[in-house]
Symmetry: C2
Subunit: 228 residues, 2 copies
DNA sequence: AACAATTTTTCGATTGATCTAAATTGCGAA
DNA sequence: TTCGCAATTTAGATCAATCGAAAAATTGTT
Protein backbone atom coordinates (compact mmCIF):
# COMPACT_ATOMS: atom_id res chain seq x y z
CA UNK A 1 0.00 0.00 0.00
CA UNK A 2 1.24 3.49 -0.81
CA UNK A 3 1.35 6.40 1.59
CA UNK A 4 -2.30 7.34 1.19
CA UNK A 5 -2.63 11.06 1.86
CA UNK A 6 -6.36 10.31 2.24
CA UNK A 7 -7.02 12.21 -1.01
CA UNK A 8 -6.55 15.35 1.08
CA UNK A 9 -9.95 17.07 0.96
CA UNK A 10 -9.50 19.82 -1.62
CA UNK A 11 -11.78 22.75 -2.36
CA UNK A 12 -13.74 22.75 -5.60
CA UNK A 13 -11.61 25.66 -6.81
CA UNK A 14 -8.40 23.74 -6.16
CA UNK A 15 -9.77 20.68 -7.95
CA UNK A 16 -10.76 22.79 -10.92
CA UNK A 17 -7.27 24.24 -11.22
CA UNK A 18 -5.73 20.77 -11.09
CA UNK A 19 -8.05 19.63 -13.85
CA UNK A 20 -7.26 22.67 -15.97
CA UNK A 21 -3.52 22.06 -15.59
CA UNK A 22 -4.09 18.44 -16.47
CA UNK A 23 -6.02 19.29 -19.64
CA UNK A 24 -3.42 21.80 -20.76
CA UNK A 25 -0.35 19.67 -20.10
CA UNK A 26 -2.03 16.51 -21.40
CA UNK A 27 -1.56 17.51 -25.04
CA UNK A 28 1.85 19.13 -25.14
CA UNK A 29 3.55 17.55 -22.13
CA UNK A 30 5.20 20.92 -21.50
CA UNK A 31 4.57 23.09 -18.41
CA UNK A 32 1.24 24.93 -18.36
CA UNK A 33 1.53 28.72 -18.63
CA UNK A 34 -0.28 31.00 -16.23
CA UNK A 35 -2.26 32.67 -19.00
CA UNK A 36 -3.20 29.32 -20.51
CA UNK A 37 -4.70 28.35 -17.17
CA UNK A 38 -6.37 31.75 -16.82
CA UNK A 39 -7.92 31.39 -20.27
CA UNK A 40 -9.09 27.86 -19.58
CA UNK A 41 -10.68 28.87 -16.28
CA UNK A 42 -12.00 32.25 -17.31
CA UNK A 43 -10.18 34.02 -14.47
CA UNK A 44 -7.56 36.76 -14.12
CA UNK A 45 -3.92 35.76 -14.36
CA UNK A 46 -3.33 37.18 -10.89
CA UNK A 47 -5.82 34.72 -9.43
CA UNK A 48 -3.99 31.87 -11.11
CA UNK A 49 -0.64 32.88 -9.63
CA UNK A 50 -2.21 32.98 -6.15
CA UNK A 51 -3.69 29.53 -6.54
CA UNK A 52 -0.47 28.08 -7.95
CA UNK A 53 1.32 29.10 -4.77
CA UNK A 54 -1.29 27.34 -2.66
CA UNK A 55 -1.20 24.20 -4.79
CA UNK A 56 2.59 24.18 -4.67
CA UNK A 57 2.46 24.44 -0.86
CA UNK A 58 0.27 21.33 -0.89
CA UNK A 59 2.78 19.54 -3.16
CA UNK A 60 0.16 19.02 -5.85
CA UNK A 61 2.17 20.82 -8.54
CA UNK A 62 5.76 21.61 -9.42
CA UNK A 63 5.91 25.36 -9.69
CA UNK A 64 8.73 27.82 -10.16
CA UNK A 65 7.74 31.40 -10.80
CA UNK A 66 7.81 32.48 -14.44
CA UNK A 67 8.50 28.88 -15.46
CA UNK A 68 5.01 27.41 -15.75
CA UNK A 69 3.61 24.48 -13.89
CA UNK A 70 3.40 20.67 -14.03
CA UNK A 71 1.34 18.31 -11.91
CA UNK A 72 3.14 16.34 -9.22
CA UNK A 73 2.45 12.62 -8.93
CA UNK A 74 -0.14 13.34 -6.26
CA UNK A 75 -1.69 16.15 -8.33
CA UNK A 76 -1.83 13.90 -11.38
CA UNK A 77 -3.57 11.20 -9.38
CA UNK A 78 -6.24 13.64 -8.21
CA UNK A 79 -6.68 15.13 -11.68
CA UNK A 80 -7.14 11.72 -13.28
CA UNK A 81 -9.60 10.74 -10.59
CA UNK A 82 -11.59 13.87 -11.41
CA UNK A 83 -11.57 12.96 -15.10
CA UNK A 84 -12.68 9.45 -14.17
CA UNK A 85 -15.57 10.76 -12.12
CA UNK A 86 -16.57 13.30 -14.76
CA UNK A 87 -16.72 10.71 -17.52
CA UNK A 88 -18.48 8.07 -15.44
CA UNK A 89 -21.16 10.59 -14.51
CA UNK A 90 -21.53 11.53 -18.17
CA UNK A 91 -22.17 7.89 -19.01
CA UNK A 92 -24.76 7.77 -16.24
CA UNK A 93 -26.50 10.90 -17.46
CA UNK A 94 -26.69 9.68 -21.05
CA UNK A 95 -27.19 5.94 -20.60
CA UNK A 96 -29.42 5.92 -17.55
CA UNK A 97 -31.15 9.27 -17.50
CA UNK A 98 -31.46 9.79 -21.23
CA UNK A 99 -29.72 13.14 -21.52
CA UNK A 100 -28.36 14.14 -24.92
CA UNK A 101 -24.54 14.08 -25.22
CA UNK A 102 -24.62 17.84 -25.75
CA UNK A 103 -26.28 18.49 -22.37
CA UNK A 104 -24.19 16.57 -19.87
CA UNK A 105 -20.96 18.51 -19.53
CA UNK A 106 -22.07 21.19 -17.06
CA UNK A 107 -23.85 18.71 -14.81
CA UNK A 108 -20.88 16.32 -14.79
CA UNK A 109 -18.70 19.32 -13.99
CA UNK A 110 -20.59 19.57 -10.71
CA UNK A 111 -20.91 15.85 -10.04
CA UNK A 112 -17.18 15.25 -10.44
CA UNK A 113 -16.58 17.06 -7.15
CA UNK A 114 -18.66 14.65 -5.06
CA UNK A 115 -16.31 13.02 -2.56
CA UNK A 116 -16.83 9.32 -1.98
CA UNK A 117 -14.50 6.66 -3.30
CA UNK A 118 -17.14 4.00 -2.72
CA UNK A 119 -19.66 5.96 -4.77
CA UNK A 120 -17.33 6.07 -7.75
CA UNK A 121 -16.66 2.36 -7.68
CA UNK A 122 -20.32 1.47 -7.26
CA UNK A 123 -21.25 3.81 -10.09
CA UNK A 124 -18.62 2.19 -12.27
CA UNK A 125 -20.08 -1.21 -11.46
CA UNK A 126 -23.64 -0.03 -12.06
CA UNK A 127 -22.68 1.29 -15.49
CA UNK A 128 -20.92 -1.95 -16.44
CA UNK A 129 -17.34 -0.69 -16.27
CA UNK A 130 -17.56 1.55 -19.32
CA UNK A 131 -14.21 2.28 -20.97
CA UNK A 132 -15.37 5.31 -22.96
CA UNK A 133 -17.72 8.18 -22.20
CA UNK A 134 -20.58 9.40 -24.44
CA UNK A 135 -18.15 11.51 -26.48
CA UNK A 136 -15.77 8.61 -27.00
CA UNK A 137 -13.21 9.85 -24.49
CA UNK A 138 -11.52 7.07 -22.52
CA UNK A 139 -12.38 6.67 -18.84
CA UNK A 140 -9.28 6.10 -16.72
CA UNK A 141 -9.50 3.09 -14.41
CA UNK A 142 -9.12 3.36 -10.64
CA UNK A 143 -5.34 3.40 -11.08
CA UNK A 144 -5.47 6.14 -13.71
CA UNK A 145 -4.80 3.96 -16.76
CA UNK A 146 -6.54 4.87 -20.01
CA UNK A 147 -7.80 2.40 -22.58
CA UNK A 148 -5.90 2.67 -25.86
CA UNK A 149 -7.66 2.69 -29.21
CA UNK A 150 -6.64 2.90 -32.85
CA UNK A 151 -8.25 6.14 -33.86
CA UNK A 152 -7.51 8.86 -36.38
CA UNK A 153 -9.17 12.07 -37.38
CA UNK A 154 -11.62 11.60 -40.22
CA UNK A 155 -9.57 14.04 -42.30
CA UNK A 156 -6.74 11.49 -42.38
CA UNK A 157 -8.78 8.95 -44.32
CA UNK A 158 -8.09 8.59 -48.03
CA UNK A 159 -10.73 8.28 -50.72
CA UNK A 160 -12.35 4.87 -50.58
CA UNK A 161 -11.35 4.17 -46.98
CA UNK A 162 -14.03 3.18 -44.48
CA UNK A 163 -14.32 3.92 -40.79
CA UNK A 164 -16.59 3.97 -37.76
CA UNK A 165 -17.08 7.09 -35.67
CA UNK A 166 -15.60 6.58 -32.21
CA UNK A 167 -15.16 10.07 -30.77
CA UNK A 168 -15.20 13.83 -31.07
CA UNK A 169 -12.29 16.19 -30.54
CA UNK A 170 -14.56 19.21 -30.14
CA UNK A 171 -17.20 19.09 -27.39
CA UNK A 172 -19.13 22.30 -28.05
CA UNK A 173 -22.88 21.64 -27.75
CA UNK A 174 -23.47 23.29 -31.13
CA UNK A 175 -21.08 20.85 -32.81
CA UNK A 176 -22.66 17.86 -31.07
CA UNK A 177 -26.15 19.02 -32.06
CA UNK A 178 -24.97 19.43 -35.63
CA UNK A 179 -23.68 15.85 -35.61
CA UNK A 180 -27.02 14.65 -34.23
CA UNK A 181 -28.82 16.37 -37.11
CA UNK A 182 -26.62 14.58 -39.63
CA UNK A 183 -26.91 11.28 -37.75
CA UNK A 184 -23.17 11.23 -37.28
CA UNK A 185 -23.33 9.60 -33.86
CA UNK A 186 -20.80 7.27 -32.25
CA UNK A 187 -20.81 3.88 -33.94
CA UNK A 188 -21.85 5.22 -37.32
CA UNK A 189 -20.04 3.60 -40.24
CA UNK A 190 -18.93 5.71 -43.15
CA UNK A 191 -16.97 5.65 -46.37
CA UNK A 192 -14.92 8.47 -47.88
CA UNK A 193 -16.25 9.02 -51.37
CA UNK A 194 -14.26 12.06 -52.39
CA UNK A 195 -11.82 14.60 -51.00
CA UNK A 196 -11.69 18.23 -52.14
CA UNK A 197 -8.25 19.69 -51.70
CA UNK A 198 -9.15 23.34 -52.19
CA UNK A 199 -11.18 23.61 -48.97
CA UNK A 200 -10.29 20.34 -47.28
CA UNK A 201 -13.90 19.17 -47.34
CA UNK A 202 -14.94 15.56 -47.90
CA UNK A 203 -17.91 13.78 -49.44
CA UNK A 204 -18.94 10.94 -47.15
CA UNK A 205 -21.28 8.00 -47.46
CA UNK A 206 -23.18 7.11 -44.29
CA UNK A 207 -25.02 3.81 -43.87
CA UNK A 208 -26.46 2.57 -47.12
CA UNK A 209 -27.84 5.60 -48.89
CA UNK A 210 -27.10 8.85 -47.07
CA UNK A 211 -24.40 11.04 -48.53
CA UNK A 212 -23.07 14.24 -46.98
CA UNK A 213 -20.45 16.88 -47.62
CA UNK A 214 -18.40 17.60 -44.51
CA UNK A 215 -16.37 20.75 -43.99
CA UNK A 216 -12.77 20.79 -42.87
CA UNK A 217 -13.90 21.87 -39.40
CA UNK A 218 -16.00 18.74 -39.10
CA UNK A 219 -13.50 16.24 -40.50
CA UNK A 220 -10.83 17.64 -38.20
CA UNK A 221 -12.97 17.05 -35.12
CA UNK A 222 -14.32 13.56 -35.69
CA UNK A 223 -12.32 10.53 -34.58
CA UNK A 224 -12.81 7.34 -36.55
CA UNK A 225 -11.46 3.83 -36.38
CA UNK A 226 -10.45 2.46 -39.78
CA UNK A 227 -12.36 -0.55 -41.05
CA UNK A 228 -10.19 -2.74 -43.24
CA UNK B 1 -46.58 30.87 -14.27
CA UNK B 2 -45.17 32.35 -11.07
CA UNK B 3 -42.48 35.02 -10.90
CA UNK B 4 -39.57 32.61 -11.26
CA UNK B 5 -36.58 34.14 -9.50
CA UNK B 6 -34.57 31.56 -11.48
CA UNK B 7 -33.89 29.66 -8.22
CA UNK B 8 -31.33 32.38 -7.54
CA UNK B 9 -28.01 30.48 -7.50
CA UNK B 10 -27.19 30.12 -3.81
CA UNK B 11 -23.93 29.05 -2.24
CA UNK B 12 -23.73 25.65 -0.58
CA UNK B 13 -23.42 27.37 2.80
CA UNK B 14 -26.59 29.38 2.21
CA UNK B 15 -28.44 26.25 1.12
CA UNK B 16 -27.30 24.41 4.22
CA UNK B 17 -28.58 27.16 6.47
CA UNK B 18 -31.96 27.14 4.75
CA UNK B 19 -32.19 23.40 5.21
CA UNK B 20 -31.23 23.65 8.88
CA UNK B 21 -33.89 26.30 9.48
CA UNK B 22 -36.37 24.12 7.65
CA UNK B 23 -35.57 21.06 9.78
CA UNK B 24 -35.82 23.04 13.02
CA UNK B 25 -39.05 24.89 12.25
CA UNK B 26 -40.64 21.82 10.64
CA UNK B 27 -41.40 20.20 14.00
CA UNK B 28 -42.44 23.06 16.25
CA UNK B 29 -43.65 25.60 13.69
CA UNK B 30 -42.11 28.30 15.91
CA UNK B 31 -39.18 30.54 14.86
CA UNK B 32 -35.76 28.88 14.84
CA UNK B 33 -33.37 30.20 17.49
CA UNK B 34 -29.84 31.22 16.57
CA UNK B 35 -28.31 28.66 18.92
CA UNK B 36 -30.57 25.91 17.60
CA UNK B 37 -29.23 26.63 14.13
CA UNK B 38 -25.67 26.84 15.43
CA UNK B 39 -26.04 23.45 17.13
CA UNK B 40 -27.56 21.88 14.06
CA UNK B 41 -24.81 23.18 11.81
CA UNK B 42 -21.89 22.79 14.21
CA UNK B 43 -20.89 26.44 13.90
CA UNK B 44 -20.53 29.42 16.21
CA UNK B 45 -23.62 31.48 16.98
CA UNK B 46 -21.90 34.57 15.58
CA UNK B 47 -21.56 32.87 12.20
CA UNK B 48 -25.26 32.14 12.22
CA UNK B 49 -26.18 35.76 12.91
CA UNK B 50 -23.99 36.86 10.00
CA UNK B 51 -25.62 34.41 7.65
CA UNK B 52 -29.13 35.29 8.83
CA UNK B 53 -28.51 38.88 7.80
CA UNK B 54 -27.41 37.77 4.36
CA UNK B 55 -30.39 35.43 3.93
CA UNK B 56 -32.75 38.17 5.12
CA UNK B 57 -31.27 40.55 2.52
CA UNK B 58 -32.08 37.95 -0.11
CA UNK B 59 -35.66 37.67 1.24
CA UNK B 60 -35.24 33.98 1.94
CA UNK B 61 -36.11 34.29 5.62
CA UNK B 62 -38.09 36.53 7.94
CA UNK B 63 -35.63 37.73 10.53
CA UNK B 64 -35.85 40.25 13.36
CA UNK B 65 -32.89 40.39 15.68
CA UNK B 66 -33.30 38.53 18.97
CA UNK B 67 -36.59 37.10 17.69
CA UNK B 68 -35.54 33.99 15.80
CA UNK B 69 -36.15 33.20 12.17
CA UNK B 70 -38.75 31.65 9.85
CA UNK B 71 -38.42 30.74 6.18
CA UNK B 72 -40.08 33.03 3.65
CA UNK B 73 -42.17 31.46 0.88
CA UNK B 74 -39.16 31.57 -1.43
CA UNK B 75 -36.88 30.13 1.25
CA UNK B 76 -39.36 27.37 1.97
CA UNK B 77 -39.50 26.50 -1.71
CA UNK B 78 -35.73 26.19 -1.91
CA UNK B 79 -35.51 24.18 1.32
CA UNK B 80 -38.15 21.73 0.15
CA UNK B 81 -36.40 21.37 -3.17
CA UNK B 82 -33.20 20.49 -1.30
CA UNK B 83 -35.08 17.89 0.74
CA UNK B 84 -36.54 16.52 -2.49
CA UNK B 85 -33.11 16.21 -4.08
CA UNK B 86 -31.58 14.72 -0.95
CA UNK B 87 -34.19 12.00 -0.68
CA UNK B 88 -34.27 11.20 -4.38
CA UNK B 89 -30.50 10.74 -4.36
CA UNK B 90 -30.80 8.50 -1.30
CA UNK B 91 -33.23 6.30 -3.22
CA UNK B 92 -30.77 6.18 -6.09
CA UNK B 93 -27.87 5.24 -3.84
CA UNK B 94 -29.79 2.44 -2.14
CA UNK B 95 -31.96 1.10 -4.96
CA UNK B 96 -29.56 1.46 -7.87
CA UNK B 97 -26.09 1.40 -6.38
CA UNK B 98 -26.78 -1.01 -3.52
CA UNK B 99 -25.61 1.17 -0.64
CA UNK B 100 -26.90 0.35 2.83
CA UNK B 101 -29.43 2.80 4.25
CA UNK B 102 -26.92 3.69 6.96
CA UNK B 103 -24.31 4.86 4.44
CA UNK B 104 -26.15 7.26 2.18
CA UNK B 105 -26.71 10.39 4.22
CA UNK B 106 -23.33 12.06 3.79
CA UNK B 107 -23.20 11.40 0.06
CA UNK B 108 -26.74 12.68 -0.45
CA UNK B 109 -25.75 15.72 1.58
CA UNK B 110 -23.30 16.54 -1.21
CA UNK B 111 -25.50 15.49 -4.12
CA UNK B 112 -28.41 17.66 -2.98
CA UNK B 113 -26.44 20.75 -3.97
CA UNK B 114 -26.12 19.80 -7.63
CA UNK B 115 -27.91 22.45 -9.65
CA UNK B 116 -29.99 21.19 -12.55
CA UNK B 117 -33.77 21.12 -12.54
CA UNK B 118 -33.77 18.74 -15.48
CA UNK B 119 -31.48 16.33 -13.64
CA UNK B 120 -33.86 16.14 -10.68
CA UNK B 121 -36.86 15.42 -12.85
CA UNK B 122 -35.04 12.81 -14.91
CA UNK B 123 -33.74 11.17 -11.76
CA UNK B 124 -37.26 11.09 -10.35
CA UNK B 125 -38.47 9.46 -13.56
CA UNK B 126 -35.59 6.96 -13.57
CA UNK B 127 -36.38 5.93 -9.99
CA UNK B 128 -40.08 5.46 -10.78
CA UNK B 129 -41.40 8.52 -8.93
CA UNK B 130 -40.69 7.20 -5.44
CA UNK B 131 -42.84 8.75 -2.71
CA UNK B 132 -40.63 7.72 0.21
CA UNK B 133 -36.88 7.51 0.71
CA UNK B 134 -34.96 4.50 2.09
CA UNK B 135 -35.68 5.64 5.66
CA UNK B 136 -39.38 6.00 4.99
CA UNK B 137 -39.30 9.79 4.85
CA UNK B 138 -41.67 11.29 2.29
CA UNK B 139 -40.20 12.86 -0.85
CA UNK B 140 -41.87 16.19 -1.66
CA UNK B 141 -43.08 16.46 -5.25
CA UNK B 142 -41.89 19.20 -7.62
CA UNK B 143 -44.40 21.59 -6.02
CA UNK B 144 -43.25 20.76 -2.50
CA UNK B 145 -46.21 18.58 -1.48
CA UNK B 146 -45.53 15.62 0.79
CA UNK B 147 -47.33 12.30 0.63
CA UNK B 148 -49.42 11.65 3.72
CA UNK B 149 -49.40 8.31 5.49
CA UNK B 150 -51.10 6.80 8.51
CA UNK B 151 -48.13 6.11 10.70
CA UNK B 152 -47.53 5.94 14.44
CA UNK B 153 -44.54 5.21 16.61
CA UNK B 154 -44.26 1.55 17.47
CA UNK B 155 -44.54 2.47 21.17
CA UNK B 156 -48.14 3.56 20.54
CA UNK B 157 -49.27 0.06 19.63
CA UNK B 158 -51.21 -1.94 22.23
CA UNK B 159 -50.63 -5.60 23.02
CA UNK B 160 -51.97 -7.77 20.24
CA UNK B 161 -51.88 -5.03 17.62
CA UNK B 162 -50.08 -5.64 14.34
CA UNK B 163 -48.15 -3.26 12.14
CA UNK B 164 -45.67 -2.90 9.29
CA UNK B 165 -42.48 -0.89 9.63
CA UNK B 166 -42.62 2.17 7.39
CA UNK B 167 -39.98 4.54 8.73
CA UNK B 168 -37.43 5.58 11.31
CA UNK B 169 -37.43 8.76 13.39
CA UNK B 170 -33.75 8.44 14.25
CA UNK B 171 -31.27 8.28 11.35
CA UNK B 172 -28.01 7.57 13.19
CA UNK B 173 -26.01 4.90 11.32
CA UNK B 174 -25.58 2.91 14.54
CA UNK B 175 -29.35 2.71 14.99
CA UNK B 176 -29.89 1.71 11.36
CA UNK B 177 -27.20 -0.98 11.61
CA UNK B 178 -28.83 -2.28 14.76
CA UNK B 179 -32.15 -2.54 12.93
CA UNK B 180 -30.43 -4.42 10.10
CA UNK B 181 -29.05 -6.91 12.58
CA UNK B 182 -32.52 -7.57 13.96
CA UNK B 183 -34.02 -7.68 10.45
CA UNK B 184 -36.26 -4.78 11.35
CA UNK B 185 -36.17 -3.28 7.87
CA UNK B 186 -38.87 -1.26 6.12
CA UNK B 187 -41.78 -3.47 5.16
CA UNK B 188 -41.31 -5.89 8.02
CA UNK B 189 -44.56 -7.01 9.64
CA UNK B 190 -44.74 -7.36 13.37
CA UNK B 191 -47.11 -8.07 16.24
CA UNK B 192 -46.92 -6.64 19.75
CA UNK B 193 -46.84 -9.61 22.12
CA UNK B 194 -46.30 -7.84 25.41
CA UNK B 195 -45.62 -4.40 26.84
CA UNK B 196 -43.53 -3.82 29.98
CA UNK B 197 -44.54 -0.66 31.74
CA UNK B 198 -41.59 -0.39 34.09
CA UNK B 199 -39.03 0.32 31.33
CA UNK B 200 -41.33 0.94 28.38
CA UNK B 201 -39.89 -2.02 26.48
CA UNK B 202 -41.92 -4.32 24.23
CA UNK B 203 -41.82 -7.95 23.19
CA UNK B 204 -42.40 -8.16 19.46
CA UNK B 205 -43.09 -10.99 17.05
CA UNK B 206 -41.45 -10.59 13.64
CA UNK B 207 -42.46 -12.70 10.66
CA UNK B 208 -43.48 -16.18 11.66
CA UNK B 209 -41.07 -17.29 14.34
CA UNK B 210 -38.68 -14.52 15.37
CA UNK B 211 -39.33 -12.82 18.66
CA UNK B 212 -37.42 -9.84 20.06
CA UNK B 213 -37.44 -7.54 23.05
CA UNK B 214 -37.21 -3.91 22.01
CA UNK B 215 -36.11 -1.11 24.30
CA UNK B 216 -37.98 2.14 24.74
CA UNK B 217 -35.37 3.90 22.64
CA UNK B 218 -36.12 1.59 19.74
CA UNK B 219 -39.91 1.62 19.97
CA UNK B 220 -39.88 5.41 20.13
CA UNK B 221 -37.91 5.66 16.90
CA UNK B 222 -39.69 3.19 14.65
CA UNK B 223 -42.71 4.27 12.61
CA UNK B 224 -45.29 1.61 11.82
CA UNK B 225 -48.53 1.50 9.94
CA UNK B 226 -51.27 -0.40 11.80
CA UNK B 227 -52.60 -3.56 10.15
CA UNK B 228 -56.23 -4.12 11.04
C1' DA C 1 23.14 42.84 -27.35
C1' DA C 2 19.46 45.92 -26.40
C1' DC C 3 15.01 47.01 -26.15
C1' DA C 4 10.11 46.50 -26.85
C1' DA C 5 6.30 43.52 -26.17
C1' DT C 6 4.34 40.03 -23.61
C1' DT C 7 3.85 37.30 -19.64
C1' DT C 8 3.89 36.79 -14.91
C1' DT C 9 4.02 38.26 -10.35
C1' DT C 10 3.24 41.46 -6.60
C1' DC C 11 0.40 44.73 -4.28
C1' DG C 12 -3.66 46.31 -2.31
C1' DA C 13 -8.46 45.56 -1.99
C1' DT C 14 -12.99 43.06 -1.91
C1' DT C 15 -16.35 39.42 -0.74
C1' DG C 16 -18.10 35.34 1.66
C1' DA C 17 -17.79 32.50 5.48
C1' DT C 18 -16.03 31.76 9.51
C1' DC C 19 -14.09 32.56 14.40
C1' DT C 20 -13.33 34.60 19.48
C1' DA C 21 -14.24 37.95 22.66
C1' DA C 22 -16.91 41.71 24.16
C1' DA C 23 -21.20 44.14 24.41
C1' DT C 24 -26.12 44.00 24.41
C1' DT C 25 -30.79 42.27 24.91
C1' DG C 26 -34.44 39.41 26.81
C1' DC C 27 -36.45 36.60 30.24
C1' DG C 28 -37.23 33.99 34.37
C1' DA C 29 -36.55 33.71 39.30
C1' DA C 30 -36.17 35.79 43.57
C1' DT D 1 -39.77 44.64 39.79
C1' DT D 2 -35.32 44.08 39.23
C1' DC D 3 -31.27 41.31 38.91
C1' DG D 4 -28.52 37.99 36.83
C1' DC D 5 -27.84 34.61 33.45
C1' DA D 6 -28.43 32.86 28.97
C1' DA D 7 -29.07 34.03 24.28
C1' DT D 8 -27.86 37.03 20.72
C1' DT D 9 -25.52 40.45 18.29
C1' DT D 10 -21.60 43.41 17.35
C1' DA D 11 -16.80 44.18 16.73
C1' DG D 12 -12.59 42.91 15.02
C1' DA D 13 -9.89 39.38 12.85
C1' DT D 14 -8.69 35.50 9.68
C1' DC D 15 -8.66 32.65 5.49
C1' DA D 16 -9.78 31.39 0.70
C1' DA D 17 -10.69 33.10 -3.67
C1' DT D 18 -10.99 36.55 -6.47
C1' DC D 19 -9.94 41.16 -8.94
C1' DG D 20 -7.39 45.47 -11.34
C1' DA D 21 -3.33 47.97 -11.62
C1' DA D 22 1.51 48.36 -11.17
C1' DA D 23 5.97 46.27 -11.10
C1' DA D 24 9.13 42.76 -12.53
C1' DA D 25 10.83 39.09 -15.43
C1' DT D 26 11.10 36.74 -19.77
C1' DT D 27 11.05 36.46 -24.68
C1' DG D 28 11.58 37.72 -29.23
C1' DT D 29 13.02 40.99 -32.71
C1' DT D 30 15.97 43.83 -34.84
Amino acid sequence: MSTQTSISQLSIAEENYLKAIYKITEQSDRPAATTAIADHMQTAAASVTDMLKRLADKKLIHYERYKGVMLSAQGMKIAKHLVRKHRLWEVFLVEKLGFGWDKVHDIAEQLEHIQSPELVERLNEFLGHPRFDPHGDPIPDAEGRFAERQQVLLCKLAEGERGVIVGVAEHAPSFLQFLDKLKLVLGTQLTVLERFEFDDSMRIQIHAHNEVLLSSKVTHNLFVQRII
